[in-house]
Symmetry: C2
Subunit: 214 residues, 2 copies
């Protein structure tokens, strides 16, 4: 007990975080199975001893990582919702009212590695019921957040939708992921990736929004 104030605990948490970050990169690049504990430790700047001092197994680390990623995404969306409802005045609602939805979806994983990590998590969630349930839960929460935003924007801008807001949100999430995936596959740089998802979402928005009786 040389440490009364939890300094070692802070160090420990920093080590955990570095290991998690390194693991996230490697899981994205090579997949859960192909990424060895050795490689994770090497990238994080530790040896295996440190790893097994912090995590029981590689699977436990992966579970922890999934949780953190999910919480981060949900928190990002929640933050946007709160900011939106705090402001009486919205950002400019011009020709592209759903621009704000785009920004939200871009918050979390709008780069090559982020997409890959999400895909890796997803396929593991398909095989592992425990992970699957967690995945669906965070997906539902995300969807709910986006629904909230979509509803707010619609009301503020005086837009009418051709489908319920929840379906609209779901559709936007789906299209975003689809475009992002095909973008990564075609070797698009992060900038072009962003452009492609944007255009995809704009098309959906156009389809969803009831045209004004011009």
């Amino acid at each position: 007990m040389t440490d009364v104030l939890g300094a070692t605990t802070r160090r420990r948490e920093a080590t955990r975080q570095k290991l998690l970050d390194a693991a996230a990169q490697l899981f994205a690049e090579e997949g859960l199975d192909a990424a060895s504990v050795e490689a994770i430790c090497e990238r994080a700047g530790f040896t295996r001893g440190a790893f097994y001092s912090n995590f029981e197994t590689k699977d436990e680390l992966f579970l922890e990582l999934c949780g953190r990623v999910a919480r981060a995404r949900v928190a990002a969306v929640r933050g946007r919702v709160a900011a939106l409802e705090g402001d009486a005045q919205f950002p400019p609602l011009t020709a592209d009212p759903l621009a704000i939805v785009r920004q939200i979806l871009e918050v979390t994983a709008d780069d090559r590695l982020g997409i890959l990590l999400m895909s890796e998590i997803r396929i593991n969630a398909l095989r592992n019921p425990q992970l699957g349930a967690a995945y669906l839960a965070q997906d539902a929460e995300l969807s709910e957040g986006v629904t909230q935003i979509v509803t707010d924007v619609a009301q503020a801008a005086g837009l009418k939708f051709r489908i319920p807001p929840a379906e609209a949100a779901r559709l936007m999430l789906t299209v975003w992921e689809s475009e992002a995936t095909r973008g990564v596959m075609s070797g698009a740089e992060d900038a072009e990736l962003s452009r492609r998802t944007s255009e995809g979402l704009a098309r959906v928005a156009q389809l969803i929004i009831e045209p004004p009786l011009a």
Copy 2:
């Protein structure tokens, strides 16, 4: 040269097919890495010797499998298109004009294992440029086929779309995959899986089709 007529060649092809089938199952269940050559051989009823007599490596088998799956999907869609354009008379175009699109999308991978295999192929395509290019090519061909069908149906039923047929087809493919994935994740049986994708596509159809001036 005891074989002049290619009987051994046929046997060989049968062996290859069994190995490919067993591998497809295991890749779907456990993923490319986790599925050992040993396990593949065991399920196919051979030993490793037979495997390495037919394939250079596990990766080569996977590539071959990807090709076969892609060709099968494209062929299924092409077959539908041909059948559709051969008939002057369409199947009943009642309340649900895009039911036929549903049937097409269900042709190829409408069960748990099929979805999993597709997902496994997809994530590998995200990491391997060669696979990625092949994946995008088959995806484009598939999309083109569905576009063709959508166009045919629209013309025959006198429907107007709110977006170009190609975008409509893309959207249906995307929504189908999304629903199927979440269905598998929530542990849905094959029957319910089919129901969920159906409903998803019906919603998209409703959104896409220009409502008649009632």
